[in-house]
Protein backbone atom coordinates (compact mmCIF):
# COMPACT_ATOMS: atom_id res chain seq x y z
CA UNK A 1 0.00 0.00 0.00
CA UNK A 2 1.26 3.48 -0.84
CA UNK A 3 2.53 5.65 1.97
CA UNK A 4 2.83 8.74 -0.21
CA UNK A 5 1.42 11.91 1.34
CA UNK A 6 -1.21 13.27 -1.04
CA UNK A 7 -1.44 16.96 -1.92
CA UNK A 8 -4.57 18.89 -0.83
CA UNK A 9 -7.25 19.19 -3.51
CA UNK A 10 -6.88 22.95 -3.89
CA UNK A 11 -3.17 23.16 -4.50
CA UNK A 12 -0.75 24.11 -7.23
CA UNK A 13 0.25 20.50 -7.65
CA UNK A 14 -3.31 19.35 -8.34
CA UNK A 15 -3.73 22.25 -10.77
CA UNK A 16 -0.53 21.08 -12.47
CA UNK A 17 -1.97 17.55 -12.71
CA UNK A 18 -5.14 18.93 -14.27
CA UNK A 19 -3.16 20.92 -16.83
CA UNK A 20 -1.10 17.83 -17.65
CA UNK A 21 -4.21 15.73 -18.30
CA UNK A 22 -5.63 18.46 -20.55
CA UNK A 23 -2.31 18.63 -22.40
CA UNK A 24 -2.37 14.84 -22.86
CA UNK A 25 -5.91 15.00 -24.22
CA UNK A 26 -4.80 17.65 -26.72
CA UNK A 27 -1.60 15.84 -27.70
CA UNK A 28 -3.02 12.34 -28.07
CA UNK A 29 -4.93 12.76 -31.34
CA UNK A 30 -2.26 14.99 -32.91
CA UNK A 31 -0.08 12.29 -34.49
CA UNK A 32 -3.13 10.71 -36.12
CA UNK A 33 -4.49 14.07 -37.27
CA UNK A 34 -1.17 15.04 -38.83
CA UNK A 35 -0.80 11.58 -40.31
CA UNK A 36 -4.23 11.91 -41.96
CA UNK A 37 -3.15 15.20 -43.49
CA UNK A 38 0.02 13.48 -44.73
CA UNK A 39 -2.18 11.08 -46.72
CA UNK A 40 -2.27 13.63 -49.53
CA UNK A 41 1.44 12.98 -49.99
CA UNK A 42 2.01 9.67 -51.76
CA UNK A 43 4.12 7.81 -49.20
CA UNK A 44 3.95 4.13 -48.29
CA UNK A 45 1.89 3.03 -45.29
CA UNK A 46 5.06 1.83 -43.50
CA UNK A 47 6.61 5.31 -43.80
CA UNK A 48 3.42 6.92 -42.54
CA UNK A 49 3.48 4.56 -39.58
CA UNK A 50 7.09 5.51 -38.88
CA UNK A 51 6.29 9.24 -39.08
CA UNK A 52 3.35 8.73 -36.72
CA UNK A 53 5.63 7.00 -34.25
CA UNK A 54 8.25 9.74 -34.55
CA UNK A 55 5.55 12.28 -33.74
CA UNK A 56 4.43 10.17 -30.80
CA UNK A 57 8.00 10.05 -29.52
CA UNK A 58 8.41 13.83 -29.79
CA UNK A 59 5.03 14.48 -28.15
CA UNK A 60 5.74 12.01 -25.33
CA UNK A 61 9.06 13.74 -24.73
CA UNK A 62 7.36 17.14 -24.80
CA UNK A 63 4.73 15.91 -22.37
CA UNK A 64 7.36 14.73 -19.90
CA UNK A 65 9.06 18.13 -20.16
CA UNK A 66 5.72 19.89 -19.61
CA UNK A 67 5.06 17.91 -16.44
CA UNK A 68 8.45 19.05 -15.21
CA UNK A 69 7.68 22.62 -16.19
CA UNK A 70 4.32 22.53 -14.39
CA UNK A 71 6.22 21.36 -11.32
CA UNK A 72 4.34 18.08 -11.18
CA UNK A 73 7.22 15.61 -11.43
CA UNK A 74 10.86 15.80 -12.26
CA UNK A 75 12.52 13.05 -14.17
CA UNK A 76 15.98 11.70 -14.75
CA UNK A 77 17.05 9.61 -17.73
CA UNK A 78 20.05 7.33 -17.59
CA UNK A 79 21.22 5.70 -20.80
CA UNK A 80 23.38 2.61 -20.81
CA UNK A 81 23.20 2.48 -24.61
CA UNK A 82 23.63 5.34 -27.02
CA UNK A 83 22.67 3.99 -30.41
CA UNK A 84 19.06 3.73 -31.58
CA UNK A 85 17.67 0.27 -30.87
CA UNK A 86 15.92 -1.66 -33.59
CA UNK A 87 14.03 -4.96 -33.50
CA UNK A 88 14.28 -5.14 -29.72
CA UNK A 89 11.76 -6.40 -27.20
CA UNK A 90 11.59 -3.48 -24.80
CA UNK A 91 10.44 -4.55 -21.35
CA UNK A 92 9.76 -2.30 -18.40
CA UNK A 93 8.48 -2.66 -14.88
CA UNK A 94 5.18 -0.88 -14.28
CA UNK A 95 4.94 1.40 -11.25
CA UNK A 96 2.94 4.33 -12.72
CA UNK A 97 0.18 5.30 -15.15
CA UNK A 98 2.64 7.11 -17.43
CA UNK A 99 5.23 4.37 -17.87
CA UNK A 100 4.46 3.87 -21.56
CA UNK A 101 4.79 7.63 -22.15
CA UNK A 102 8.24 7.68 -20.55
CA UNK A 103 9.45 4.70 -22.54
CA UNK A 104 8.10 6.05 -25.83
CA UNK A 105 9.71 9.44 -25.14
CA UNK A 106 13.16 7.87 -25.21
CA UNK A 107 12.97 4.77 -27.41
CA UNK A 108 12.24 5.20 -31.14
CA UNK A 109 9.83 3.23 -33.35
CA UNK A 110 7.96 1.53 -30.54
CA UNK A 111 4.98 -0.71 -31.15
CA UNK A 112 2.81 -0.88 -28.07
CA UNK A 113 0.29 -3.52 -27.05
CA UNK A 114 -2.70 -1.38 -26.22
CA UNK A 115 -5.78 -2.07 -24.14
CA UNK A 116 -8.98 -2.29 -26.17
CA UNK A 117 -10.42 0.64 -24.19
CA UNK A 118 -7.67 2.92 -25.58
CA UNK A 119 -8.67 1.94 -29.11
CA UNK A 120 -12.27 2.95 -28.36
CA UNK A 121 -11.21 6.25 -26.77
CA UNK A 122 -11.64 9.23 -29.10
CA UNK A 123 -8.36 10.88 -28.10
CA UNK A 124 -6.12 7.85 -28.44
CA UNK A 125 -7.94 5.50 -30.85
CA UNK A 126 -7.03 7.08 -34.18
CA UNK A 127 -3.39 7.58 -33.18
CA UNK A 128 -3.16 3.96 -32.02
CA UNK A 129 -4.31 2.69 -35.40
CA UNK A 130 -2.08 5.02 -37.43
CA UNK A 131 0.89 4.03 -35.28
CA UNK A 132 0.30 0.35 -35.99
CA UNK A 133 -0.12 -0.56 -32.33
CA UNK A 134 -1.58 -3.98 -31.64
CA UNK A 135 -4.55 -4.57 -29.35
CA UNK A 136 -4.12 -6.81 -26.32
CA UNK A 137 -7.21 -8.85 -27.27
CA UNK A 138 -6.07 -9.42 -30.88
CA UNK A 139 -6.35 -13.16 -31.61
CA UNK A 140 -3.10 -13.04 -33.64
CA UNK A 141 -1.23 -10.85 -31.16
CA UNK A 142 1.77 -13.15 -30.79
CA UNK A 143 2.32 -13.65 -34.52
CA UNK A 144 1.90 -9.92 -35.22
CA UNK A 145 4.50 -9.01 -32.60
CA UNK A 146 6.99 -11.54 -33.99
CA UNK A 147 6.43 -10.07 -37.44
CA UNK A 148 7.01 -6.52 -36.17
CA UNK A 149 10.23 -7.49 -34.40
CA UNK A 150 11.50 -9.16 -37.56
CA UNK A 151 10.85 -5.90 -39.45
CA UNK A 152 12.99 -3.89 -37.05
CA UNK A 153 10.22 -2.40 -34.92
CA UNK A 154 10.75 -2.23 -31.18
CA UNK A 155 7.95 -3.91 -29.23
CA UNK A 156 7.11 -2.67 -25.74
CA UNK A 157 5.82 -5.14 -23.15
CA UNK A 158 5.12 -4.79 -19.46
CA UNK A 159 5.71 -8.31 -18.10
CA UNK A 160 3.77 -7.47 -14.95
CA UNK A 161 0.71 -6.95 -17.13
CA UNK A 162 -0.66 -4.21 -14.92
CA UNK A 163 0.63 -1.53 -12.55
CA UNK A 164 2.36 -3.01 -9.53
CA UNK A 165 1.70 -2.04 -5.91
CA UNK A 166 5.35 -2.08 -4.91
CA UNK A 167 8.67 -1.87 -6.78
CA UNK A 168 9.85 -5.33 -5.78
CA UNK A 169 6.55 -7.12 -6.47
CA UNK A 170 7.90 -8.09 -9.94
CA UNK A 171 5.11 -10.55 -10.72
CA UNK A 172 6.37 -11.11 -14.29
CA UNK A 173 4.34 -13.25 -16.69
CA UNK A 174 6.03 -15.20 -19.44
CA UNK A 175 4.93 -13.25 -22.53
CA UNK A 176 8.26 -11.48 -22.93
CA UNK A 177 10.17 -14.74 -22.63
CA UNK A 178 7.79 -16.42 -25.10
CA UNK A 179 8.52 -13.68 -27.64
CA UNK A 180 12.28 -13.77 -27.09
CA UNK A 181 12.45 -17.50 -27.70
CA UNK A 182 10.04 -17.51 -30.65
CA UNK A 183 11.55 -14.52 -32.46
CA UNK A 184 15.20 -14.77 -31.40
CA UNK A 185 15.21 -11.05 -30.59
CA UNK A 186 17.16 -9.37 -27.81
CA UNK A 187 15.47 -7.89 -24.77
CA UNK A 188 16.10 -4.25 -23.86
CA UNK A 189 15.16 -3.65 -20.22
CA UNK A 190 13.98 -0.24 -19.09
CA UNK A 191 13.89 0.39 -15.34
CA UNK A 192 11.30 2.86 -14.07
CA UNK A 193 11.15 4.23 -10.57
CA UNK A 194 8.93 6.87 -9.01
CA UNK A 195 9.87 8.31 -5.62
CA UNK A 196 7.60 8.84 -3.79
CA UNK A 197 5.19 6.43 -5.53
CA UNK A 198 2.55 8.21 -7.59
CA UNK A 199 0.08 7.65 -10.48
CA UNK A 200 -0.84 4.29 -9.03
CA UNK A 201 -3.72 1.95 -9.75
CA UNK A 202 -6.98 3.18 -8.28
CA UNK A 203 -5.73 6.72 -7.70
CA UNK A 204 -7.73 9.60 -9.10
CA UNK A 205 -5.99 12.20 -11.29
CA UNK A 206 -6.08 14.73 -8.47
CA UNK A 207 -4.39 12.41 -5.95
CA UNK A 208 -0.85 13.62 -6.55
CA UNK A 209 2.02 13.52 -4.05
CA UNK A 210 2.39 16.54 -1.81
CA UNK A 211 6.11 16.36 -2.46
CA UNK A 212 7.33 16.56 -6.07
CA UNK A 213 8.08 12.99 -7.17
CA UNK A 214 11.13 12.02 -9.18
CA UNK A 215 10.67 9.55 -12.00
CA UNK A 216 13.84 7.86 -13.15
CA UNK A 217 14.11 6.09 -16.49
CA UNK A 218 17.10 3.82 -17.01
CA UNK A 219 17.59 2.40 -20.49
CA UNK A 220 19.78 -0.67 -20.07
CA UNK A 221 21.90 -2.47 -22.59
CA UNK A 222 20.08 -5.20 -24.50
CA UNK A 223 20.87 -8.84 -24.00
CA UNK A 224 20.03 -12.05 -25.82
CA UNK A 225 18.25 -15.19 -24.65
CA UNK A 226 21.57 -16.98 -25.17
CA UNK A 227 23.17 -14.85 -22.45
CA UNK A 228 20.40 -15.80 -20.03
CA UNK A 229 19.68 -19.49 -20.60
CA UNK A 230 20.92 -22.69 -22.16
CA UNK A 231 19.05 -22.72 -25.45
CA UNK A 232 19.47 -26.45 -26.01
CA UNK A 233 16.77 -26.97 -23.37
CA UNK A 234 13.06 -27.36 -24.17
CA UNK A 235 11.48 -24.00 -24.96
CA UNK A 236 9.08 -24.26 -22.04
CA UNK A 237 12.00 -24.39 -19.62
CA UNK A 238 13.65 -21.44 -21.39
CA UNK A 239 10.46 -19.36 -20.96
CA UNK A 240 10.54 -19.96 -17.21
CA UNK A 241 14.27 -19.40 -16.78
CA UNK A 242 14.31 -16.23 -18.89
CA UNK A 243 11.41 -14.86 -16.86
CA UNK A 244 13.22 -15.61 -13.60
CA UNK A 245 16.41 -14.04 -14.97
CA UNK A 246 14.51 -10.87 -15.87
CA UNK A 247 12.94 -10.75 -12.41
CA UNK A 248 16.37 -11.19 -10.81
CA UNK A 249 17.78 -8.42 -13.00
CA UNK A 250 15.04 -5.99 -12.00
CA UNK A 251 15.20 -7.00 -8.35
CA UNK A 252 18.93 -6.34 -8.33
CA UNK A 253 18.54 -2.92 -9.96
CA UNK A 254 15.51 -1.85 -7.92
CA UNK A 255 16.68 -2.94 -4.48
CA UNK A 256 17.92 0.15 -2.65
Amino acid sequence: MSETVIAPLLSRRVAAAGMSYVAFGLFAPLPAAISQILRIIPIRAERRQLYTRQMIQHLCWLFTQLMQLFGLYRHVVVREIFDNPSGKLVVANHPTLLDAVFVMAYIPNVCCVAKASLARNFFTGLTLRQAGFVLADDSNLFEKLIDKLSHGENVLLFPEGTRNTSDLELNFRRGAANLMVASGCDVLPVILQCRPRALQKGEKWYQVPAERAEISVTICRPFSAEELVDQTQPRTLQYRQITRALVAFYRCRLTP
Binding site: F142, R174, N178, P234, R235, T236, L237, Y239, R240
Partner: protein, 81 residues
Protein backbone atom coordinates in the same frame (compact mmCIF):
# COMPACT_ATOMS: atom_id res chain seq x y z
CA UNK B 1 -3.48 -46.80 -26.54
CA UNK B 2 -5.25 -47.17 -23.22
CA UNK B 3 -6.02 -44.18 -21.03
CA UNK B 4 -3.35 -45.31 -18.57
CA UNK B 5 -0.73 -45.51 -21.33
CA UNK B 6 -1.64 -42.03 -22.57
CA UNK B 7 -1.55 -40.76 -18.98
CA UNK B 8 1.93 -42.21 -18.44
CA UNK B 9 3.27 -40.73 -21.69
CA UNK B 10 1.66 -37.35 -21.02
CA UNK B 11 2.95 -37.24 -17.44
CA UNK B 12 6.49 -38.05 -18.58
CA UNK B 13 6.42 -35.26 -21.17
CA UNK B 14 5.01 -32.76 -18.70
CA UNK B 15 7.70 -33.61 -16.15
CA UNK B 16 10.34 -32.80 -18.79
CA UNK B 17 8.74 -29.60 -19.94
CA UNK B 18 7.23 -27.88 -16.93
CA UNK B 19 9.30 -27.99 -13.72
CA UNK B 20 6.59 -30.02 -11.99
CA UNK B 21 6.58 -32.74 -9.35
CA UNK B 22 4.84 -35.99 -10.24
CA UNK B 23 2.51 -35.61 -7.27
CA UNK B 24 1.11 -32.40 -8.82
CA UNK B 25 -0.02 -34.11 -12.02
CA UNK B 26 -3.44 -35.43 -11.04
CA UNK B 27 -6.63 -35.51 -13.08
CA UNK B 28 -8.29 -32.70 -11.14
CA UNK B 29 -5.31 -30.34 -11.40
CA UNK B 30 -6.08 -27.15 -13.30
CA UNK B 31 -3.55 -26.74 -16.09
CA UNK B 32 -3.34 -22.98 -15.68
CA UNK B 33 -3.93 -22.42 -11.96
CA UNK B 34 -2.26 -25.51 -10.45
CA UNK B 35 0.31 -26.54 -13.06
CA UNK B 36 1.15 -23.09 -14.49
CA UNK B 37 0.68 -24.30 -18.08
CA UNK B 38 -0.48 -21.42 -20.30
CA UNK B 39 -1.65 -21.41 -23.92
CA UNK B 40 1.88 -21.08 -25.36
CA UNK B 41 2.99 -23.99 -23.15
CA UNK B 42 0.05 -26.05 -24.48
CA UNK B 43 1.28 -25.63 -28.06
CA UNK B 44 4.76 -26.78 -27.06
CA UNK B 45 3.24 -29.67 -25.08
CA UNK B 46 1.14 -30.91 -28.01
CA UNK B 47 4.12 -30.67 -30.33
CA UNK B 48 6.22 -32.67 -27.88
CA UNK B 49 3.55 -35.33 -27.57
CA UNK B 50 3.49 -35.68 -31.34
CA UNK B 51 7.25 -35.75 -31.73
CA UNK B 52 8.43 -37.64 -28.69
CA UNK B 53 5.81 -40.14 -27.64
CA UNK B 54 4.12 -43.15 -29.13
CA UNK B 55 0.84 -41.27 -28.94
CA UNK B 56 -0.31 -40.88 -32.53
CA UNK B 57 -2.04 -37.57 -32.60
CA UNK B 58 -3.91 -35.69 -35.28
CA UNK B 59 -5.46 -32.55 -33.85
CA UNK B 60 -6.78 -29.07 -34.43
CA UNK B 61 -6.30 -26.32 -31.81
CA UNK B 62 -10.11 -26.12 -31.39
CA UNK B 63 -10.07 -29.69 -30.00
CA UNK B 64 -8.43 -28.30 -26.85
CA UNK B 65 -10.49 -25.14 -26.47
CA UNK B 66 -12.49 -26.43 -23.48
CA UNK B 67 -9.61 -28.20 -21.77
CA UNK B 68 -9.11 -26.86 -18.25
CA UNK B 69 -7.70 -29.74 -16.20
CA UNK B 70 -5.20 -32.54 -16.70
CA UNK B 71 -8.18 -34.91 -16.77
CA UNK B 72 -9.84 -32.88 -19.57
CA UNK B 73 -6.61 -33.09 -21.56
CA UNK B 74 -6.49 -36.87 -21.09
CA UNK B 75 -10.12 -37.14 -22.24
CA UNK B 76 -9.38 -35.24 -25.46
CA UNK B 77 -6.20 -37.20 -26.18
CA UNK B 78 -8.03 -40.47 -25.56
CA UNK B 79 -10.72 -39.40 -28.00
CA UNK B 80 -8.25 -38.30 -30.68
CA UNK B 81 -5.92 -41.31 -30.65
Amino acid sequence: MTRDEIKAALTAVMLTLFELEETQIIESASLYDDLDVDSIDMLDLLLSIKQETAVELDFEPEDFRDVRTFGDLLDVLERLT
